[in-house]
Amino acid sequence: MSAVSGIEVPKLEWRSVAKRFARAPVLDGLDLAVAPGRSLVLIGGSGQGKSVTLKIALGLMQPDAGQVLLDGVNVTALSENERRPLFSRIGMLFQGAALFDSLTIWENVAFRLVHSDGIPRREARERAIAAMHLVRLSPDVAQLYPGEMSGGMQKRVGLARAIVGQPDILFFDEPTTGLDPITAAAIDELIVDKVRSLGCTAVSITHDLASARTIADEVAMLYQGRIVWRGPVRELDTTENPYVRQFVGGSSQGPIDANV
């Protein structure tokens, strides 16, 4: 089994990444790579380091060892100021949407355009409403505040904010957690649609296997800080890998420690 399956020039690569918290290893030499234009879903139990993997790639957390390469550039060696321009190529949908409470919906969506790209507010508002249209949000909600919307609508706003800058990499952190099945399916469809139409590379983490089956080209499973399986999404239900079998089957019996 290889963690990097047949990729010549990865869009994004974690190379021997290690991270410990209070002396407990969370990532233990993680090797993982994503090819341009592919959608990779990282699955695994709680506390296995999925969010840490994403945060290290985003520069929100520094690894203790190893590198993260974006288009072959080691971004872990860059300072915050050097790394900031790279974020203009990245969109991120957070688990709780992470919308700014004090800003209206359109101001949330246009945040990058106004505050980073220096686009005038009028033009930014038009682009924000266009992005909201892409995620099937009515312009009528543009003046609302996040606290006035449902969780599903907030996720849509978060998705609009992630795609408004035409990124070439999208990250999704538990995109369907806490949503009802119908809203979750709608969010998954939007993710697939936007990733394909924008030609993005996508990296998602989720516990939701139905979501993974919808949005993934490939799936990787993280256990005890390492990738224990990686393969095309169609093999998720047929692989003999004991970790994947136990996780997909939701069994307490197997190599994964089920102690809670």
Partner: protein, 244 residues
């Protein structure tokens, strides 16, 4: 302890650097000036009036032991402008503003809004921290100026209505006695106290961990540390000014 001082110093350095170098967010600075300055006017004004009035009463009732009632106007003016105006305004801001800043930024940290800001290519030190530091450093001297005027007015009102002092004589005594430095030294103190209030609110908010409980703890720490640092800085600045 040394590590904590180092972390605060590093945070203060980053915040000051963001405050004095572009890029600035003027809309955020104006919003914070409103929240920190304008909305604090009632509490600072009432504190100053009651303090000035109580000070006048104390000087009158106890001052006869050493004939101090003759210089009531001068003592009230000196006490308010040099010491009580800046210190009490700052302590009121520590309670009202440092707590609000710490809880707002702490809640943003807990709900990943600050991480989101970073992924949107915006430096939280420029968008969140610098506007609050700038606003606090500007607002507290202005509030102190208001507190000086209202505090002296509180003493004046007690003196003329309760103690029968001539209003003209009270004002003349105040104006003749006060020097520009009395007011200026209080305003310099206020600017330093404003920085402390902004810094403690922002630092404890940004470093809050542990969800709602962590935000609560950060809010308490912001208020307590602001108050202690204000009083310590007051002593150091007063020592420095008396040697000038």
């Amino acid at each position: 302890m040394a590590a904590a001082v180092g972390r605060v110093a590093h945070f203060a350095g980053r915040g000051l650097h963001a405050a004095v170098t572009p890029r600035w967010f003027p809309q955020q600075i104006l919003r914070q000036l409103g929240a920190i300055g304008f909305l604090s006017l009632p509490v600072v004004g009432m504190t100053a009036w009651f303090t000035g009035a109580a000070l006048a009463l104390n000087i009158y009732s106890s001052g006869d032991r050493f004939n101090a009632e003759q210089v009531m106007a001068q003592i009230v003016a000196l006490g308010i402008t040099r010491e009580l105006g800046p210190v009490l305004a700052a302590l009121m801001l520590a309670g009202r503003v440092a707590a609000a800043i710490a809880s707002e930024i702490g809640a943003m940290r807990a709900t990943e809004q600050i991480d989101a800001m970073v992924t949107l290519s915006t430096d939280p030190f420029r968008y969140l921290i610098a506007p609050r530091l700038i606003a606090a450093i500007i607002a507290l001297p202005l509030l102190t100026l208001v507190a000086d005027i209202i505090g002296v007015a509180g003493g004046w009102q007690v003196a003329i209505h309760m103690l029968g002092t001539s209003p003209q004589i009270y004002i003349a005594n105040t104006a003749d006695f006060l020097t520009a430095w009395d007011v200026e030294s209080g305003l310099i103190k206020a600017a330093v106290f404003g920085f402390i209030v902004g810094l403690m609110g922002c630092y404890h908010g940004m470093t809050a961990v542990g969800g709602a409980r962590g935000v609560g703890r950060a809010t308490t720490q912001a208020v307590v540390s602001s108050a202690i640092l204000i009083l310590a800085a007051d002593y150091l600045l007063t020592s420095l000014f008396t040697r000038l």
